[in-house]
């Protein structure tokens, strides 16, 4: 009887011992929890902030090169109180929205056709790929010759920097439409236009939205580039003016502001995308 009891007990013991042994697992591709994500993210940001504060407070660096956080904040406050900051920001926002819309309005139909109609891809892909590798910055002098320093020049730089990437990425998004979805439409007797509008476009909608979100981020870069070179106002132009007067603290503030605006807009894009394409997140999950 006692023997009968002893055997399972030994079994349990050995199982327990095995369980305590640490299992060496690799650290790759583990999704951190939301809390862990925020803790790590804020910790790094805070650490960098403290280093910045420390370096400037201890006067390790010439304030012309590296102004203190306080100086940067005061510079921003000054610009805001004269209303100039708001004017520059709204001017830049207007430009990027218009430039981005022009680019998207063209890239959307062209990318859609390139992704779904072989002849369009054959005709346009080589050209677009070619232009895509020409740096948009290199077009700045040309755009000034063509459009002067007017609004048209800003839009054209945003367009050159954004459109070609967008068209290719949207083409790729569209190509991922499952062939069987299209076949279902075919068996219902749908023609090209209806297949595109009712099946291809909604099916690739979430991916296209992501493309727009990413390319909007790039459009910011091109806007600031255009404003740095030639403009009367806008955040980019304000950076150039500040450089002329050695207002490094203002430059710091303006660069930071551009980053914050970009981050906020990116989040808005994400939220809107989740609302627009609720089916897509459940599909993946």
């Amino acid at each position: 009887m006692s023997l009968g009891h002893a055997t399972p007990a030994t079994g349990e013991l050995s199982t327990a011992r095995r369980a305590v042994q640490p299992v060496r697992r690799h650290q790759l591709f583990h999704q951190p929890s939301r809390t862990a994500f925020w803790i790590w993210g804020s910790a790094v940001m805070a650490a960098l902030g403290i280093v910045w504060f420390g370096v400037t407070a201890l006067e390790f660096a010439n304030p012309y090169f590296l102004p203190s956080p306080g100086a940067v904040w005061t510079a921003g406050y000054e610009m805001a109180s004269t209303g100039q900051l708001w004017a520059d920001t709204s001017e830049s926002m207007r430009r990027i929205v218009i430039g981005f819309l022009i680019s998207t309005a063209l890239a959307l139909p062209i990318g859609l056709l390139m992704g779904s109609v072989g002849r369009f891809e054959a005709a346009l892909e080589p050209f677009i790929d070619f232009v895509r590798y020409m740096p948009a910055v290199a077009f700045v002098p040309l755009t000034i010759v063509w459009f002067g320093v007017d609004e048209g020049q800003k839009y054209s730089i945003i367009f050159i920097g954004t459109f070609f990437q967008q068209a290719l990425m949207i083409m790729d998004n569209v190509k991922r439409t499952p062939l069987d979805y299209v076949r279902v439409g075919e068996t219902l007797g749908l023609g090209t236009t209806k297949l595109l509008r009712r099946i291809v476009l909604p099916s690739s909608g979430p991916a296209i939205w992501d493309t727009l979100r990413i390319s909007f981020g790039w459009a910011w870069t091109w806007l600031v580039v255009a404003e740095l070179v030639a403009a009367r106002d806008g955040l980019g132009q304000r950076i150039v003016v500040s450089q002329r007067y050695f207002d490094t603290d203002r430059i710091f503030f303006l660069i930071g502001l551009i980053g914050v605006i970009g981050l906020v807009l990116d989040q808005l894009f994400k939220i809107a995308g989740r609302a627009l394409f609720r089916w897509s997140s459940t599909e993946r999950g």
């Binding site: 499952p178 069987d180 076949r183 068996t187 089916w279």
Partner: protein, 265 residues
């Protein structure tokens, strides 16, 4: 008149390595109230044949007639259920069925009701508001069947529709399809490589030989209807299974002999 007639249809593919004949001349017709299974090993061209009937692929020679009229492309006279899940994930179950009814001359109300009616036929009306991602594979295929039937095609084409389902679900789907078909008889062409499935569903089984696909046997299945779960274990079914198994095995053996001959040569 036959619901579908396949006249002298062949299919040849041109690939980088040369020309492959997928289908040798095929001539066969299907009655309007006949459930036919097209049975064959993988790569015999049975799906290609079904795609040609659907109008999704063009035959190299020959043509297809539906209800006595030659057809050159897809159309609403034929409904299709695919092997892969093809419900649109951005639409609800109800909207997926209604999608097939758009462009038809009917009021919004009628479209809604007709879609709901066919969802009821496959027992899915309770899930009308769900999205496909919330459904199991079997449920998705049930909705796909409702979608293909909703616009009342002359012929229902099914391309291994239960191929991706587990055995239990598969059996349930076979019973469901049998019940629906016995209530609303119509011409069905059902492609499968599963002998038991072919026998238990059909009035007629067409066995295809391996590439280039041709009709090797055309067998009437005389199992009385209505059929039910007992049909699966009946002596009649087993008799037909044995016969078809023999035919299919010959094909598989031929394939092996050919492969080893090729290796030796």
């Amino acid at each position: 008149m036959s619901a579908v007639r396949i006249v002298n249809v062949t299919k040849t593919y041109t690939t980088r390595s040369g020309r492959t004949q997928a289908l040798s001349p095929i001539n066969v017709s299907f009655r309007p109230d006949e459930f036919t299974a097209i049975l064959g090993t993988s790569g015999c061209g049975k799906s290609t044949l079904l795609h040609i009937v659907a109008g999704l692929e063009q035959p190299s020679t020959g043509h297809i007639e539906v209800n006595g009229t030659a057809v050159s492309g897809p159309g609403r006279d034929r409904g299709m259920v695919f092997q892969n899940y093809t419900l649109f994930p951005w639409l609800t179950v109800q909207q997926n069925v209604e999608f097939a009814l758009r462009d038809l001359p009917m009021s919004r109300r009628k479209r809604h009701d007709q879609a709901r009616e066919y969802l009821g036929l496959v027992g899915m009306e309770a899930f009308a508001a769900a999205h496909p991602s919330e459904l199991s594979g079997g449920m998705r295929q049930r909705v796909a069947i409702a979608r293909a039937l909703s616009y009342q095609p002359r012929v229902l084409l099914m391309d291994e529709p239960f191929g991706a389902l587990d055995a239990q679900t598969r059996q349930g789907m076979q019973m469901l399809l049998t019940r629906v078909w016995e209530e609303h008889r119509m011409s069905v062409l059902f492609v499968t490589h599963d002998i038991e499935e072919a026998v238990c569903l059909s009035d007629r089984v067409i066995v295809m030989s391996r590439r280039p696909g041709a009709i090797k046997a055309d067998l009437a299945i005389d199992i009385p209807r209505p059929r039910g779960i007992d049909t699966l274990t009946s002596a009649e079914l087993n008799g037909y299974k044995a016969e078809l198994l023999q035919l299919i095995r010959e094909e598989a053996d031929d394939a092996q002999t050919a492969a080893s001959a090729k290796r030796a040569g």
